[in-house]
């Protein structure tokens, strides 16, 4: 393992210290906890929006804490859900009386820990609700699995839900919008190479020199299959077709696109991918209203990318274009 770290067990703590030092205009550490909240939390007159998960997905989740997106983010151990007490502290720190909405990615551990935090907060009289993001079309949504995974499409949920909360909308309204995003966003990823969890010290999986995994999750979970590497256009076509098979789009519809790097893939390659995504959607007469290309939901130093497509209506479009001011996403 070759990483710029001190001690594997201290990585998350030292990262949080570094983030708080880098972005004092945005972030404040909840003392004694692995929680970063907006510097002026709790922000009055609005619902608090909280997300989080295992570390290793930076800039997610704390990078999206700021005006127009999240109020707070909890950092678990690398690739491991945060514990209920940590989530509970985040809820308490951002609640200004209007209640709190938790944005959870669909993993058994995340759902259980966040639900326990809801029970703790409810016992203290705080109104908390949740939405569960499951945008990954790589894995079947059937009674035989725990359902689809939450991956990069979660960033769209952060953006639009945060914008809605910023308008002063009440909790049920904020939740309605979050669920609308979840219903209209689909993602699929692929990996060229593995990543190493610091505490494990060795790669999570092995891909041969010319091998790629299609449908790879953001913690190195298996995808649909492995195959020999092909061109950017061929890989992108495969991912976009899987997304479109699940969420058909017709001519004239509007979408937002995110081409998300998993950590070790260059912006150069991501732009090559984006060119093909635009081409494929354009050929169908689909209008791409907004495009994000970059590292938003990474998987440590994994090489690879994911494509997310969000179908827009006038409400989602307006909220997507609303202002956001966070360490990792600024929109004016």
């Amino acid at each position: 393992m070759k990483k710029v770290i001190n001690v594997a067990e201290h990585v998350v703590e030292e990262m949080l210290q570094g983030m708080a030092l880098a972005h004092p205009q945005y972030l404040r550490r909840v003392e004694g906890f692995d929680v970063l909240v907006r510097v002026n939390s709790p922000v009055g007159g609005k619902v608090g929006v909280v997300s989080g998960g295992g570390s290793g997905h930076e800039p997610a989740h704390a990078g999206f804490v700021g005006r127009g997106m999240l109020d707070g983010a909890i950092a678990g151990a690398v690739f491991t859900s945060p514990t209920p007490d940590q989530v509970y502290e985040a809820i308490k720190a951002v609640d200004s009386g209007g209640g709190v909405l938790l944005i959870i990615k669909n993993y058994s551990g995340d759902v259980m820990n966040f639900e326990m935090a809801i029970e703790m907060a409810s016992a203290e009289g705080i109104t908390v609700d949740k939405v569960i993001v499951d945008d990954d079309v790589a894995v079947e949504n059937s009674t035989w699995t725990i359902g689809r995974r939450g991956i990069a499409g979660t960033v769209f949920v952060h953006k639009i839900t945060g914008a809605k909360a910023e308008t002063g909308a009440v909790l049920p309204e904020v939740k309605r919008v979050a669920e609308k995003v979840i219903a209209n966003v689909r993602s699929m990823g692929m990996a060229l190479d593995s990543c190493t969890v610091p505490a494990a010290g060795k790669p999570s999986f092995i891909l041969e020199e010319n091998e790629i995994e299609i449908g790879m999750g953001i913690h190195g979970e298996p995808g649909t299959h492995r195959e020999s590497i092909s061109t950017a256009d061929e890989i992108t076509t495969h991912l976009v077709n899987k997304i479109l098979a699940d969420m058909p789009l017709s001519s004239g519809e509007e979408v937002a696109v995110m081409v998300n790097g998993l950590g070790a893939t260059t912006l150069m390659e991501l732009y090559v991918v984006n060119r093909k995504v635009a081409d494929l959607l354009g050929n169908k007469g689909v209008k791409i209203t907004k495009t994000y290309v970059g590292n938003y939901m990474t998987s440590l130093e994994m090489a690879g990318f994911s494509v997310s497509v969000l179908k827009l209506d006038s409400e989602l479009k307006e909220l997507l274009f609303a202002q956001a001011d966070t360490p990792a996403l600024v929109q004016f």
Partner: protein
């Protein structure tokens, strides 16, 4: 037979820490490869927490401390599941300093119910329940046949061992391993394995 619950938990914790690599490797094959790391971190925290407790605490207090510490230090799915199990069992141990067969069986029963409720899981889905439920059944059957506590635990551990083997033959439908579908066959479940290690360690401790 010796033993305070305090010692029992320390020994179980050490067994989990000793098997950190095994549990992590099993999880890497079908999950996300952190079960051993998370469980070891949890039981190291449990060890530190128990040392700060007065040694004369009742069984309920010790188990509650174990449960709360696991919930706040493990994360992932195993933290809430094992934490809930120990918290539920703790309720039956409040004010008690000794366990008999009946209370031990009831503790296992409420722990299993807690895991089912928290994880929304049932037996046969390649989880720790495939070890704990057969173990409970065997324990109760042996107790019904007027066996000693050690004999009951021996039956439970044998069923638990078979339960671990059984998880190799079935498809995972809960947790991250469920994404593998048929590809999860042939692999033993890491959570089932950690449950078996706990039961087996308890038996070995009481035997000697």
């Amino acid at each position: 037979m010796k033993g305070s619950i305090y010692e029992v938990m320390a020994v179980i914790g050490q067994a989990i820490i000793n098997n950190k690599q095994l549990l992590t490797d099993l999880d890497a094959a079908i999950g996300d490869g952190d079960h051993g790391i998370n469980m070891a971190r949890g039981f190291e925290a449990v060890g530190a927490k128990l040392q700060s407790l007065e040694p004369d605490k009742d069984i309920g207090t010790i188990l509650k401390t174990v449960g709360m510490t696991l919930i706040t230090s493990v994360g992932g799915a195993s933290g809430p599941l094992y934490g809930t199990a120990f918290l539920r069992a703790a309720n039956l141990g409040l004010g008690r300093y000794e366990l008999d067969k009946e209370i031990a069986a009831n503790m296992l029963a409420v722990a299993i119910t807690g895991i089912k409720e928290r994880g929304k899981a049932t037996r046969g889905e390649k989880t720790m329940l495939d070890v704990l439920e057969p173990a409970y059944d065997a324990f109760v059957e042996a107790a019904g046949a007027q066996k000693s506590l050690i004999e009951c635990l021996e039956s439970a551990c044998e069923s638990a061992r078979l339960g671990v083997e059984f998880t190799k033959t079935i498809v995972a439908t809960k947790g991250r391993a469920s994404y593998l579908g048929e590809r999860s066959i042939g692999h033993q479940d890491p959570g089932a394995t950690s449950s078996y290690i706990m039961l087996q360690t308890l038996l070995e401790y009481i035997r000697c």
